[in-house]
C-alpha cells in the first residue's frame, strides 16, 4: 500500500524548510519502527506551502504477534481433584484465552499455568494515523507560533491535510483541521483545488499543477536555468549553497530569469550591490570569468515563465531604487572621515555591562599594542595594527553599514582606502570579521589575522567577565562562532606555536582584572577555546580519543593540533603504539593511586639497572623530542617513542615500583612522572583507546 500525508500550510520560512523535512523523515522512521509492519521506503518533501510524507510498499497490517502470559500457580488454578478453579476461569476470560492454548510448566517456584496468546497486528490505517499525529506533535522548529485556540504550536498555520492510504482517507484532525483528499497546486491566480483519487497519483498531480516536491529537483532546475540565463550576457551565476537553498525554498516551481541593473545605478562598490541582490532581492549575482560583478542578476520567480517580462520589470525597478538608495548613503558616508566617527562610537552599545563600542575600540588599541610586542612585530606593522584597531569599528556608524549590517568591516576597508589610510590598514579592516562562518575564508594578511583574533578575544573575555554563559542552543552573543573563528585562524598558522594564552591574559588585564583573577578566568576561556578546537578536529574526521589526546597539549600549541592528530591517526593501528598506550595508562594509574608527594629523580637512589636505563633513555629522548617538536617533525617523535618502548617494557618487567622503602618508591614514582611528561609533550597517550586485536 501507499500512504500519503500532506500538511498544507501558509508559507514556511525558506531557511529552515530542509531541516524540517529531514526531521519529519526521522520522526516517521522512528515511529514506524515501533510497529512490526513491513514497508519499502519512506520519503519526505517540503515546499513553502506543504510538508509531505510518502510511505510505499506498506503491508496491509502488522504481523500478528504470539506472546506467552504467565498465569496463576497450579495450586491456585486447580483444586486437589485437578479441576479448574474460578481463578483459572478468570485468567482465561480476562486474557481472552482458549483453554486449549494453556499449559502447565515447572518453574523454580513450582508449577505454573502458562498461556499462549496471539495479539493481532494493527492495521496499516491505524499505524499511519499514529505516525502522522506523532509527526505533527513532535516536529520542532527554530521558531513556532500559535494561530487558533487548540494550543497547537507549529511553524506556520496549517490550512489543510491530506491523509490517503491508497484510495482511502485516514481520518483524524489536528489544530482544527480535518484530513481529506483535497490539496492545491501552485498559486497562480488562485490555488487550484485538486481532489486526489489515491496516494499514488500525488506526484503526477502535483507536477501537472506546477509543484515540484523535491528540493534537489528544484535546486538543479534553478542552477541549470540560472546558468543558461547568465550565458546570455557571457556571465555565470555566483552563489553559496546556503543562499541558493534559501532562494529555491521560496518556490514550488522555480523559474530563474535574467534581469539587468541600471548602468547609472551600478557605479557603487560591488559589495553593496551584491548585498542588495542577495539579501534584499533574494536573487543570484552574475559575474564574469574573473569573478567581477556584472550589471545583471538572476531573479527566481515562484511560477512559470508566463508574463515573466512583467515580473522582471518589477524586480529591476526595485533593485534600481535600492541601489540608488545605497549610492546616496555611500556618497554621504564618503564625506565623513572614519577618524571623526570613532568618538561617536560612545553612542553604540557593545554588550550590556561592557560599555560602548568606543570602550571596545580603546581596549582593542591597547591589546593591539600589547600583541605587537608579544609577536615582535616591526615598527610599521605595529603602527598599522594599532591604527586598524582604532578605526575598526567606525564604519558601524556609516549609513551603508546601518542599512546593510553584513557589510561591516568591508565598508570600513573601502572608506579607509578612499580616505588615504595605508593600504595595509584598509586591507586589515576589511578582513577583521573573517571567518564569518565555519568554512568561510580566513583573513589573508598577517595583521588581518591578528586583528580578527584580538577582536574576538576581547568579545569572549568581555562576555565571560559579565557572566554570559554559553549552553546548549543558547549563545546570544555568538561566542561560539567567535571562538571557532579564533581557533580556525590559529590552527591554520604555519608556526606550530601561537601565544594565545598570553593574549587572553592581556585582554583580561585590559578589562580590569586583577592578577589573581586573571589566572582563573584565563583557564575558563582556554577551556572554551579548546572545545571549539575539538569541534574543528572532529569535523576534520578525527576520532574522539585522538582529539582528547591532542587537546591535552597546551593551547599555545594549537597550530600543531591537526598535524599531531594526523600522526596519531596514522599510527593508531600499530602494535607498538598499542603497547605504548597501555604503558601510559599504567603509569597514569600508578601515579594517580600513589597520591604521594615526591621530588625530583635522584640517580643515586637507583638500585636496578633497568631504572638507570630508563632514566638515561628519557634524558636522551627529551632533547631529540624537543628539537623535533620545534621543527614540527612529528613522525620522528613517534619513532623516538617506538625506540623508547622496549626500555619501558624492561623496566616494568624487572622493577617493582611500589618498593617497601619510601625513598626508593618515591624515586621510582618520580621517574615515571618524568616518563609521562615526556609523552605528554606530544599528546596524552593514555587518552587513546586501542582495541586489542
Amino acid at each position: 500500500m501507499k500512504y500519503l500525508f500532506e500538511i498544507y500550510t501558509e508559507e514556511i520560512p525558506a531557511t529552515f524548510l530542509n531541516g524540517v523535512v529531514k526531521d519529519m523523515k526521522a520522526l516517521a522512521e522512528k515511529k514506524l519502527s515501533e510497529f512490526s509492519i513491513n514497508f519499502s521506503e519512506i520519503k519526505t518533501f517540503g515546499t513553502p506551502k506543504r510538508l509531505a510524507l510518502f510511505v510505499s510498499g506498506l503491508d496491509e497490517k502488522e504481523a500478528d504477534r504470539k506472546v506467552e502470559i504467565k498465569g496463576p500457580s497450579y495450586r491456585v488454578a486447580f483444586d486437589e481433584n485437578g479441576n479448574p478453579t474460578k481463578v483459572f476461569e478468570k485468567f482465561l476470560t480476562s486474557n481472552e484465552i482458549d483453554e486449549k492454548n494453556t499449559q502447565i510448566r515447572e518453574t523454580k517456584k513450582g508449577k505454573y499455568v502458562f498461556a499462549e496468546k496471539v495479539i493481532p497486528g494493527k492495521s496499516a490505517k491505524e499505524i499511519v494515523k499514529e505516525v502522522s499525529l506523532y509527526i505533527l506533535e513532535n516536529l520542532r522548529f527554530p521558531k513556532s507560533m500559535h494561530w487558533e485556540d487548540s494550543g497547537v504550536r507549529f511553524v506556520r498555520p496549517i490550512r489543510g491535510m491530506v491523509a490517503l492510504l491508497d484510495g482511502e482517507i485516514v481520518e483524524f484532525s489536528y489544530a482544527g483541521v480535518e484530513t481529506g483528499r483535497l490539496t492545491y497546486g501552485l498559486r497562480i491566480d488562485k490555488p487550484k483545488p485538486i481532489e486526489l483519487k489515491n496516494a499514488g497519483e500525488y506526484f503526477a498531480k502535483m507536477r501537472e499543477n506546477y509543484v515540484i516536491l523535491s528540493f534537489d529537483e528544484r535546486r538543479k532546475l534553478t542552477e541549470r536555468k540560472a546558468r543558461s540565463e547568465s550565458e546570455k550576457v557571457n556571465g555565470k551565476p555566483s552563489y553559496s549553497f546556503s543562499h541558493l537553498t534559501e532562494i529555491v525554498n521560496l518556490t514550488e516551481y522555480p523559474t530563474p530569469f535574467l534581469a539587468s541593473i541600471d548602468k547609472e545605478a551600478f557605479d557603487i562598490p560591488e559589495c553593496i550591490t551584491a548585498s542588495i541582490i542577495e539579501g534584499h532581492m533574494k536573487s543570484l549575482k552574475v559575474v564574469d570569468e574573473k569573478g567581477r560583478l556584472l550589471p545583471y542578476f538572476i531573479g527566481v520567480r515562484n511560477g512559470s515563465s508566463d508574463f515573466i517580462d512583467v515580473v522582471r520589470k518589477g524586480y529591476e525597478k526595485v533593485v534600481k531604487a535600492r541601489i540608488l538608495d545605497g549610492k546616496f548613503f555611500f556618497e554621504e558616508d564618503k564625506k565623513t572621515k572614519l577618524e571623526s566617527l570613532v568618538e561617536k562610537l560612545s553612542g553604540v552599545v557593545f554588550l550590556k555591562g561592557l560599555g560602548t563600542m568606543k570602550d571596545k575600540t580603546d581596549r582593542l588599541v591597547k591589546l593591539a599594542t600589547e600583541v605587537s610586542g608579544i609577536l615582535s612585530l616591526t615598527k610599521e606593522e605595529k603602527e598599522n595594527l594599532v591604527r586598524s584597531a582604532f578605526l575598526s569599528k567606525a564604519d558601524l556608524l556609516t549609513n551603508v553599514v546601518r542599512e546593510f549590517p553584513e557589510l561591516q568591516g568591508t565598508m570600513g576597508g573601502i572608506y579607509a582606502k578612499i580616505q588615504g589610510e595605508p593600504e595595509q590598514v584598509a586591507a586589515v579592516m576589511s578582513e577583521q570579521y573573517l571567518p564569518r562562518f565555519s568554512g568561510d575564508k580566513l583573513p589573508q594578511t598577517k595583521l588581518g589575522k591578528y586583528l580578527s583574533i584580538i577582536d574576538k578575544i576581547d568579545t569572549i573575555c568581555g562576555a565571560f567577565s559579565v557572566g554570559v554563559k554559553v549552553s546548549g542552543s543558547k549563545d546570544p552573543f555568538g561566542l561560539r562562532r567567535a571562538g571557532n573563528g579564533i581557533m580556525q585562524i590559529v590552527m591554520s598558522e604555519e608556526e606550530n606555536f601561537f601565544p594565545i594564552s598570553e593574549i587572553i591574559e592581556k585582554a583580561l588585564l585590559i578589562l580590569g582584572y586583577g592578577k589573581k583573577e586573571v589566572e582563573e578566568k584565563k583557564e575558563e576561556i582556554v577551556q572554551f577555546l579548546k572545545e571549539r578546537a575539538r569541534g574543528i578536529l572532529k569535523e576534520k574526521g578525527f576520532a574522539s580519543d585522538i582529539v582528547n589526546a591532542v587537546l591535552s597539549v597546551p593551547i599555545d600549541f594549537a597550530p600543531s593540533y591537526e598535524s599531531r592528530a594526523s600522526v596519531l591517526k596514522k599510527h593508531i593501528e600499530e602494535e607498538t603504539l598499542l603497547l605504548i598506550v597501555l604503558s601510559n595508562k599504567r603509569v597514569k594509574n600508578i601515579l594517580e593511586k600513589s597520591g604521594a608527594e615526591f621530588g625530583k629523580v635522584n640517580p643515586d637512589l637507583f638500585f636496578e639497572r633497568d631504572e638507570e636505563n630508563l632514566y638515561s633513555a628519557i634524558s636522551e629522548s627529551r632533547k631529540a623530542i624537543s628539537e623535533n617538536l620545534q621543527s614540527g617533525n612529528y613522525e620522528k617523535i613517534m619513532e623516538i617513542f617506538y625506540v623508547l618502548h622496549p626500555v619501558i617494557a624492561q623496566f616494568f618487567d624487572n622493577v617493582l615500583v611500589m618498593d617497601e622503602d619510601e625513598k626508593v618508591r618515591n624515586n621510582r614514582l618520580a621517574l615515571l612522572r618524568e616518563l609521562k611528561r615526556l609523552f605528554d609533550e606530544f599528546a596524552d597517550f593514555s587518552a587513546l583507546s586501542v582495541k586489542k586485536k
Binding site: E11, K317, A321
Partner: protein, 286 residues
C-alpha cells in the same frame, strides 16, 4: 487607479469581510500597530475586526521631500481581525485582486519576516509580502502584546499604500502618484514633507522635547492609574512620537534610549492591564 480610489477599494473590500471601518486615529504614531484600534484591541478575548488608514510618522526616514522613496510620513492601511479567519491569506490576496491586480501576471511571495516592538512589548510572526520583488505588505500573526501571550491571536495586515500605488500606477517617484484625477501626491504632500523634516532635523529643540516627554509621561501615569484608558494611552502615543523626534535629531544617548523605552513600555503595560481588568469584570458580570 488613483490613490484615494485605492483606499476606497480596500475599505469596501474589508467592510464586506465584516470589518468596522474607522477614520485614522487622531494622534501622531509611527505605525498602525500603535493605534488603540490595534494595540488595545488585540488584548483579551473579545472578537474584533477593523480596517483603517493610518498616517504614520517616522521622522528619521524623512528626506526633506527630495528622495523618491523615503518619507517622513507615509500611509498604512491596517487590518486587524481577531481571531484570524481560516482563509485569511486567500482573503488578503482577494483584496489585491480588488485593486485590479491580475495575480497570474505577477509574482506574490511571502518571505519570513517577524517583528518585535520593544515599546509595546509586542511580537508577531509572519511575512513581508513581495509583489514582483516589491515589499507591499506586512502580514503578521500577533503572538504577544505588553509582554502577554495572546489567546486568541489577531492577524495584522499592513499595506504600504505609497508602495502599492507606485506599483499600480507605474511611478518612479512617490511624489508622482496621482492622488485623484486633479492632484498628485507631491501637490498635496511635498511641501509638508519639507517642513516636517526641517523641524525634525534642524529646528526641533531637544531640551523642550525632553521636557515634553517628561510631562506626557507623568500625565499618562496619572491618568492610567485612575483607569482612564484612552486619555492615558494618548499620552503614551505623544511620548512615543516625541521619542521618535529626539531620535531623528540624534539627541538620544544609548543609556537614555534604553531608559526611555523602558519608561514607555511601563506605560504600555499599565494600559494593557486596564483593558484586561475591564474584560475580566465583563466576564464576571456575564
Amino acid at each position: 487607479m488613483n490613490f484615494q480610489e485605492m483606499i476606497f477599494k480596500l475599505e469596501t473590500f474589508w467592510k464586506r469581510q465584516g470589518c468596522v471601518i474607522l477614520p485614522p486615529f487622531d494622534e501622531q504614531v509611527g505605525a498602525g500597530t500603535l493605534s488603540p484600534y490595534t494595540f488595545l484591541k488585540v488584548l483579551g478575548k473579545k472578537e474584533w475586526a477593523v480596517a483603517y488608514v493610518q498616517p504614520s510618522r517616522r521622522p528619521a526616514d524623512g528626506r526633506y521631500g527630495e528622495n523618491p522613496n523615503r518619507l517622513y510620513m507615509h500611509h498604512q492601511f491596517q487590518v486587524i481581525i481577531k481571531p484570524p479567519p481560516f482563509d485569511i491569506q486567500e482573503m488578503y490576496l482577494n483584496s489585491l485582486r480588488a485593486l485590479g491586480l491580475k495575480l497570474a501576471r505577477h509574482e506574490v511571495k511571502f518571505i519570513e519576516d517577524n517583528w518585535e516592538t520593544a515599546v509595546l512589548g509586542a511580537q508577531g510572526i509572519g511575512w513581508e509580502v513581495r509583489l514582483d520583488g516589491l515589499e507591499i505588505t506586512q502580514f503578521t500573526y500577533f503572538q504577544q502584546a505588553a509582554g502577554i501571550e495572546l489567546n486568541p491571536v489577531s492577524v495584522e495586515i499592513t499595506y504600504g499604500l505609497e508602495r502599492l500605488a507606485m506599483f499600480i500606477q507605474e511611478k518612479e517617484s512617490v511624489f508622482d502618484i496621482q492622488w485623484n484625477e486633479k492632484y498628485t501626491y507631491g501637490d498635496l504632500r511635498k511641501e509638508v514633507e519639507r517642513e516636517e523634516c526641517i523641524y525634525a532635523f534642524d529646528e526641533s529643540d531637544p531640551k523642550k522635547l525632553f521636557a515634553l516627554f517628561d510631562i506626557y509621561e507623568s500625565e499618562a501615569v496619572r491618568l492610567l492609574s485612575k483607569d482612564l484608558l484612552m486619555p492615558g494611552y494618548q499620552y503614551l502615543l505623544k511620548c512615543s512620537h516625541t521619542f521618535n523626534l529626539l531620535d531623528a535629531r540624534g539627541a538620544i544617548s544609548i543609556a537614555e534610549r534604553v531608559q526611555l523605552i523602558t519608561r514607555m513600555r511601563h506605560l504600555a503595560e499599565l494600559a494593557a492591564n486596564i483593558v484586561l481588568k475591564s474584560e475580566e469584570k465583563d466576564e464576571v458580570s456575564v
